[in-house]
Symmetry: C2
Subunit: 231 residues, 2 copies
């Protein structure tokens, strides 16, 4: 499907038919998801595709039993966890060496990424990092984060959101419908998926085929001149 | 362009040719950006298209003078600000009434959204909201945020990231190249754009036509079975 058509056809659909959405198309959409840009290519994301009936039932309850969750053919949980930088580090160093990237790129993954994504026991590194950023920043432009655990989670959440957007657009391009849900109990979802304490649940995505009354009405957006500012 | 082709062609390009990228294509990509799903359709985002030579020069410095910023044909700053819920509230209430949405939808925009996006003077509402979420959450699944200013910013950042992803994919579909940059001085960029204190700079996006050596090498990602978990 044409890119702009896929973008225009994507709506947040809150009711799905009982027709199962093909699993291989969900897989294809997941392959598009991970092609999203992400912070330093650390890929600090995980996608939980909840298929067991029992777990799905609990997940629906944890999504406050909203209709999109209840009627979905598939439910996927998008998770961000800044600690996952460790998972990709070695392959990124190997990649940089193979690509003959400048020594700085290898150094970046060996030395800088671990510092960026660390906040220390009880967040104790954060105020030290903040102070360094503040003092250095008095003299020249500098990146002011991530310092705290929350900062690192924010970076990971942002990247995971980019992947999630690729995913829902891909579902649209494949003729399906989806709904990104933020109405869920994060604490209970983390427990259900047995996630580590540093992980954050970015969203739960419902996938299926649109049923009647899948939306309240036509899509509305603010006029472009209210959101785009030319300077 | 086909959706999956646009996804595959998108790479983070760090060097652009001197050919100007047409402004009407940037506009078309911005129109695709705002079609992204976003939290409660509050559209708490703004896109600053920095065109004046003087401001662009400062913005490049604030992006630590990285090559993607230096050589870009266009620089756009994606901003999230939870306080922008106020901008869309009246048109969303009007839309819900016109669409004959259930009374709950109108109530949601009239009563619930303002509570969700408020953190009170000095964040004082946040601990009260957190306590209510905690106590209610003992008995049943409940959304546990946003409570604090940071929580509300996180919601806004997530939505703005979705729009930004639509934007870079659209640029790819239109034959251009882009780079999402997180390496910038947020404090200085906020000052340059004269942003309100609650606003957050989500990313700066460089747009142009790819020059030679735009990337270090082929795109790499972790194997799918390391990031997708079937439960």
């Amino acid at each position: 499907m044409d890119f702009f058509e896929a973008v225009k056809k994507r709506r947040s659909i809150r009711r799905y038919t009982q027709d199962p959405f093909p699993e291989d198309l969900v897989e294809k959409a997941l392959e598009a998801a991970v092609l999203a840009p992400n912070s330093s290519n650390t890929q600090t994301w995980n996608f939980y595709w909840v298929r067991s009936e029992e777990k799905k039932k609990t997940l629906i309850e944890n999504c406050l039993s909203q209709s999109a969750a209840r009627t979905a053919s598939h439910l996927l949980v998008v998770v961000a966890d800044p600690k996952l930088w460790k998972r990709s580090q070695s392959s990124l160093i190997e990649w940089a060496q193979k690509a003959n990237a400048p020594k700085e790129v290898v150094m970046y993954y060996e030395k800088l990424v671990p510092i960026m994504y660390r906040w220390g026991f009880l967040n104790l590194l954060a105020p030290i990092k903040d102070l360094i950023f503040f003092v250095t920043g008095l003299f020249r432009p500098i990146m002011r984060g991530p310092a705290s655990r929350r900062d690192a989670q924010e970076v990971a959440i942002k990247s995971a959101a980019l992947a999630a957007e690729n995913f829902v657009l891909a579902i649209s391009a494949l003729g399906g419908a989806s709904c990104m849900m933020e109405g869920f109990d994060e604490w209970r979802v983390k427990k259900l998926l047995n996630l580590s304490s540093s992980a954050r649940v970015v969203m739960v995505i419902a996938v299926g085929y649109e049923a009647e009354k899948g939306t309240w009405g036509p899509q509305v957006r603010l006029p472009m001149n209210e959101v785009v500012h030319r300077l």
